[in-house]
Symmetry: C2
Subunit: 228 residues, 2 copies
Amino acid sequence: MTRAATAGIERGSGRRLRTRARLIEAARRLVATKGIEATPISEITDEAGVGVGSFYNHFETKEDLLEAVIADTFETHGAALDRIHAGKTDVAETFAQSIRLTVRLVDRDPIWGWFAVRTGMYVPQLRSSLGSRLARDLRRGFDAGRFASYDAETTVAAIGGALLGVMRSKLTGDLPRDADRFLAEELLRLLGLPPDEAAEIAGRRLPAMTRLLSETSAARAASASGEK
Amino acid sequence: MTRAATAGIERGSGRRLRTRARLIEAARRLVATKGIEATPISEITDEAGVGVGSFYNHFETKEDLLEAVIADTFETHGAALDRIHAGKTDVAETFAQSIRLTVRLVDRDPIWGWFAVRTGMYVPQLRSSLGSRLARDLRRGFDAGRFASYDAETTVAAIGGALLGVMRSKLTGDLPRDADRFLAEELLRLLGLPPDEAAEIAGRRLPAMTRLLSETSAARAASASGEK
């Protein structure tokens, strides 16, 4: 193949990726504002500035697109949390910091926050992404004797709901700046830690927040510009 | 006024109330299924079997109707809880039983449950109805030295979210039959009660469940038939 032909394919493939990234970003914005049911495909393609036909070159249904948005939105954050906590030994600290960093991300990226709040209660994929990480951390804490005995499904539903509830009130400006610390302290108590210890662990300095956020943003930016 | 004329006015007013109740019931069903944004007024009037013009005889906007649905849906339940707990002295028990009865109502009335889950994260009126009762109980518990010190707004957001999260997973059949007891136990720990005491209080027999539910259903039925 000539160099010019290869460059042509690369340009074509770059354009294809950019269109896909534009559809994902438009869907995230619209679903964050209005919810899933109220967002028709035609509005997503309008917002993305592409034709409806283009949509079907990338996705078969709105649900396919939503799955891509969720993978892009939550897997990036979940993977960043995993990276931060790699090698840490105390699951109570890991859990508290994951909760705090997730609540804080809402301030830095409100569209991310509203998307989570709007979809978190309904969408099975969210539960299989961040939900499965939460379930894994709870199991570890229980196996290590750190967390009180619990019904796994009920606890994941309760903690996931509490997290979404606090993110939501954070987004509407109804909570103090350190709501993330209060929530982490309360959830450690919920998991059976003594009040003094829960307060101490929830108050520890957050690690590498800037790195987490810049890595997450960089991954998002790369995805949006089609270089991923 | 002649007796016939009075009867005519009563019939007219009964019809008016029945139309209003039908609009409320239709809105509750549709919002429970699809959410607020995806439910246009024309679909509510279709479902209720009344003309769009009739809608505007009763409500100015969709939001007005929604407020009436929420008052009907949550105030009835909240008032029933208040009635049950009247005279009880231990706020920890009152709190645990309110949580358990609310989770259990979801099994008996899934439309009620889905309506709460679909609206709970967004609608300010829900927070001013059940949310203000929750805030009141937390304040009482704190004043009585029963609950650990807390940030009121964060705690209401966390507990409200946890309740919605468990109701949601109950509706999709993902939780065990006694999820309500697990949740109450965990939330009492969250509020600072020692694990043993939290388990004991959450496990106490529920009072007058049948009476609560039959009173709530009776109030709903009376409202739906326009006799309220």
